[in-house]
């Protein structure tokens, strides 16, 4: 069928089932935007900055499991996508980014709004294309969706010179896939799977450590079945939250730097650690040489390069988490592990959960609102049935600690890259992908200001999200590090000069509220959720609250500070530091001044 390149792009996107694209036009994108006006099923959402487009596509992809699509013009449009592409790359999120490019004959001449987009994005994409023949469009888009969404998902960039969009071409359906260099392993190795099942059936102190790979593979039912069959406690990474029900008695909480005491101790004491779709990131392991010192490790991942990268496993299994877990479940069933084998171990982890819950000073006077309480109230008011998007920093960590994630794709957060400003646009993308769900963006006053122009996008796109801002007047996580490791020298972290956020929300055409007292929290949340419009609640929270427990950067997971719930005395941050160790046998960790270890970068 004869059509223009730009029309072929729209037709190809629709053929891939793409129903929404987030973007911002520009000179070389006019042909494509012109074609979008005649799109049949593809809806375009105009953002107010390209970073918003890519994060929205990311949030959409995480909420729905489909490939997210964003588009931007050449030069500055494309470079504004870069942060979001890197974000999707590090968190293995399937997105396709379409970028305009200058005319083919101008490439390389430093033309107006020219940037080497494929070059700039090379280290942060799963794959990229520079289209040089309009006839290739259907095939390239077909391949891009396939590569983005299969194996270990990731971002794919398609750079489209304007002459390609303008050219007349003969549209032909893609002729299948011919990618000899891309064949992700789905099925795990049978011998390895049997070995893993035997090890699991014999283990007395097993821990299942689930990452984002469980969610992207849709392996949550298999994980639940395996955990219950083995009576094995489960911990999740930041990316894995929701992969296992947070309300389940076998759930230990998140592990790592701001993970639960129960999780980190379980890792420290377990005899078998099963990592599924997780990559032993430094925020998870702390000091690598002291990570899971008594455990043999089974590592299941679809990406062979992750296996052995940080931790050398005893049993490596390359494959899709769902396939592999399902087969391990069958094998374990056949072996029939001795019931009650792990009872002592589970009891020990239970005891740890009782003894060291996440805790904060619940005695709140007027004007002294605990940020943790706000998160608990979000859980309470929604009954846990909502999608939570977060920004990065303290708000994000409290969101992991005080909300119980019940289902996969419920928690959307920038894990690997730690991108401030991710919360709001990702929430818009999530809401557009899942209009049936309440979507709440838990953010801070710092991160919100990085992408707050997207409030307009939420209004125009009719995406009634709730922004729950934990406003402490600080760039809180960096301030926390300065507090703990830099003698409270709060360099450039105090941001009390800021707009009145409730009025600002109002000005955007959203509903703005300000909450200072504990008693107003639930009502404000209910009102914001019910109003049917984008809403922002400015929660004025305790300014110098810290996130505990904390494993200081580069330390072992059993060297947490602030894990101990004080019995009578209320925990003030300084006191929490002295209460450093949950177990009396452990030495106190990290006196301030041990800066070299702590400088790894807060976020």
């Amino acid at each position: 069928m004869k059509m223009k390149g730009s029309e072929a792009i729209v037709a190809s996107l629709e053929a891939e089932g793409c129903d929404v694209a987030f973007g911002f036009p520009g000179g070389v994108m006019i042909p494509l935007y012109d074609a979008l006006m005649d799109a049949r099923t593809l809806r375009h959402i105009l953002v107010r900055h390209e970073q918003g487009a890519v994060h929205a596509a990311d949030g959409y992809a995480r909420a729905t499991g489909k490939v997210g699509v964003c588009m931007a013009t050449s030069g500055p449009g494309a470079t504004n996508l870069v942060t979001g592409i890197a974000n999707a790359y590090l968190d293995s999120v399937p997105i396709v980014a379409l970028t305009g490019q200058v005319r083919g004959d101008l490439i390389g001449t430093d033309a107006f709004q020219e940037a080497d987009t494929t070059g700039i994005t090379l280290p942060i994409v799963k794959h990229s294309y520079l289209v040089t023949d309009p006839a290739d469009i259907p095939q390239v888009i077909h391949e891009a969706f396939h590569i983005a969404g299969t194996g270990r998902p990731g971002p794919v960039v398609i750079d489209l010179p304007v002459n390609i969009s303008l050219a007349e071409m003969n549209y032909r359906e893609p002729t299948g896939l011919d990618l000899p260099g891309y064949k992700p392993t789905v099925e795990g190795h049978t011998k390895q799977i049997r070995a893993a099942a035997r090890a699991l059936a014999a283990a007395e102190r097993p821990v299942l450590y689930a990452g984002g790979g469980v969610i992207s593979a849709g392996a949550s039912p298999e994980l639940l079945e395996l955990a219950e069959m083995l009576q094995a406690p489960v911990t999740c990474t930041l990316m894995g939250l929701g992969a296992f029900p947070g309300t389940h008695p076998l759930f230990l909480g998140m592990l790592g730097m701001h993970g639960s005491v129960a999780s980190n101790y379980a890792i420290h004491e377990c005899d078998l650690l099963v990592a599924v779709g997780a990559r032993f990131d430094d925020r998870v392991t702390g000091k690598l040489s002291a990570f899971a010192p008594h455990a043999e490790v089974i590592h299941i991942d679809v990406d062979p390069a992750e296996i052995g990268k940080n931790v050398r496993p005893f049993i490596p299994i390359v494959g899709d988490a769902r396939h592999v877990l399902a087969r391990i479940v069958d094998e374990v069933k056949a072996l029939g592990p001795e019931p009650g084998r792990t009872a002592d171990w589970v009891a020990r982890t239970e005891q740890r959960k009782d003894e060291f819950p996440f805790h904060y000073d619940e005695d709140m006077k007027e004007g002294d609102l605990a940020p943790q309480y706000v998160i608990e109230q979000i859980d309470e008011v929604t009954g846990g049935d909502c999608i939570i998007c977060t920004d990065v920093g303290q708000n994000q960590m409290w969101a992991t600690q005080y909300f119980k994630y019940r289902f996969p794709r419920q928690f959307i957060s920038s894990g690997g890259l730690g991108t401030m400003g991710f919360g709001l646009p990702s929430a818009i993308g999530a809401k557009i992908g899942r209009p049936d769900k309440t979507v709440i963006d838990i953010t801070g006053d710092g991160g919100f200001q990085m992408t707050m122009q997207e409030m307009t996008t939420a209004i125009c796109a009719d995406a009634p999200i709730v922004v729950a801002m934990l406003n402490n007047g600080y760039l809180g996580m960096v301030r926390q590090w300065q507090d703990l490791f830099w003698e409270k020298r709060y360099s450039a972290t105090c941001i009390t000069a800021q707009p009145d956020f409730a009025k600002l929300a109002d000005a955007f055409g959203a509903v703005g509220m300000k909450v200072t007292g504990k008693d107003e929290v639930a009502d404000a949340l209910r009102e914001a959720i019910a109003c049917g419009r984008p809403a922002l609640i400015d929660f004025r929270v305790r300014q110098e609250e810290n996130v505990f427990p904390m494993v200081p950067s580069g330390q072992s997971l059993d060297e947490m500070i602030g894990g101990h719930a004080p019995k009578k005395r209320r925990a003030k941050p300084a006191a929490a530091k002295r209460d450093a160790t949950p177990s009396a046998a452990k030495p106190a960790a990290t006196p301030p001044g041990k800066k070299a270890d702590a400088k790894g970068g807060a976020s």
Binding site: G119, T132, I147, L179, P180, G181, P304, A305, G308
Partner: protein
């Protein structure tokens, strides 16, 4: 230990950049890299040598494999591999030095490919060790310029 990787790649724009970029980003040092067309249309073969002591070779190959344009990687066994590099070397060859240079070239079966009043240019094909040995002998004469392709390698016999 040196590893010689034989990497079959799609001959598409930017493939070399992807591979070079991957090595740079992951901090792998390439000792040498040679690339040319292969026996299959549309595919090129790269020979990459890398120090396996410095970098875990399985990480290097696994990361390379993740590139969509990389079709196949072989970590060649040095005992079952033929490898050769091409070297051009220009040496000073005034007066007495000339005959000495010619003699050394003869021993190494190096071809004299250019000559002028002051210099000789030798072309030698062989293992990296052979090139090194030749250079060592030429050193006292005064080496003006060296150009080396780095080795290309092929496994012996049938694949």
């Amino acid at each position: 230990m040196k590893h010689i990787l034989s990497v079959l790649v799609e001959n598409k724009p930017g493939v070399l950049t992807r591979i070079a970029g991957l090595f740079a980003r992951r901090g792998f040092n390439i000792d040498s890299l040679a690339v040319g067309e292969s026996e299959k249309p549309g595919l090129s073969r790269m020979t990459i040598t890398i120090d396996g002591a410095e970098h875990p070779i399985d990480q290097v190959t696994k990361q390379l494999h993740k590139l969509i344009n990389v079709i196949k990687i072989r970590d060649l066994d040095p005992d079952l591999t033929i490898s050769a590099e091409l070297m051009l070397v220009k040496v000073r060859a005034e007066g007495d030095k000339r005959s000495e240079a010619l003699q050394i070239a003869e021993i190494f079966r190096a071809k004299i490919v250019d000559v002028d009043r002051n210099t000789l240019t030798l072309r030698v094909v062989g293992t990296t060790e052979k090139s090194e040995a030749l250079l060592e002998l030429l050193q006292p004469l005064g080496i003006v310029e060296i150009v080396r392709t780095g080795p290309i390698a092929i496994a012996r016999g049938r694949p």
